[in-house]
Symmetry: C2
Subunit: 182 residues, 2 copies
Amino acid sequence: MLHVLRLGHRIHRDERLTTHICLVARAFGADKAIITGNRSNSLIKSVDKIVDNWGGDFEIEYSDSWKKVISEYKDNGWIIVHLTMYGINIPDAIDDLRKEVSNGKNMLIVIGGAKVPSKMYDLANYNIAITNQPHSEVSSLAILLDRLLGGKELSKDFEKRFKNAKMKVIPSRKGKEVRKII
Amino acid sequence: MLHVLRLGHRIHRDERLTTHICLVARAFGADKAIITGNRSNSLIKSVDKIVDNWGGDFEIEYSDSWKKVISEYKDNGWIIVHLTMYGINIPDAIDDLRKEVSNGKNMLIVIGGAKVPSKMYDLANYNIAITNQPHSEVSSLAILLDRLLGGKELSKDFEKRFKNAKMKVIPSRKGKEVRKII
């Protein structure tokens, strides 16, 4: 199981980025996103609506304490992977991460918000960078999940994950084609 | 050469997403970003500042006409790759794209904004999806560039691209370490 924890969401300012994080989590194989910081019902609703339209079992929930989330996951034996540009670059860490997965470990991927408390770096089992250059938590999450799943989330087989979709894209060389499933 | 064209930037609403697009473009090996839509001097300034701090030759500029940009690039023999969830999924297109690159073609990667004009789908040489699920233009750009460069943008060698940096991350298992270069 792969879950994603978004730290310190801020209403308005982070609304679109956090939404994109949730959609990347879903499209690239995570099972759940947990948001901390400000509670945003509209965000949760909009992600739920996308899941409802495009299928699958992806869940989103809110917690008022990131520390509580992490300690619960740790108690349950989950591995905590914190994405930060200051961490170990992914090519130097991917073997260890894959080993954890093949040992049957579940993974909580933590994504920073405004200011990540320094405690987070200690609580994480792995502090991982996707390049040590500044870019985006959205792209970092996508590349991490892509590396963990070895690219299989891009395959047709992976699409089967998104059961009960009301809409499905028919890939097209020009233009848009969407099949509506009633 | 790889350039990125962001369509229809909207002041305020898109400020952070477009900034993240530019940073992904830079970190994952593109040479330039061109913004169309609303001109945002603050966005251009903030990307320029990051380039100044973290090094390299990445450029950002504004154009008031996306059609003009595309027709100029086409006239100069560039291949136009439009990222859209309605396009051909990347595993089914990557061989063709890599062939273009190994034939010495330059590539303009187009990323949609609010409403992508249907003309864009015709103007593109390739309409490419990064999965046919909804997620984010930020993650789509990262995965496309990652696929095009075969992951080499994650290597230490690639860091050499970022010459004249004033700041450099020293990858660290816990905490943050940044070397300031004076």
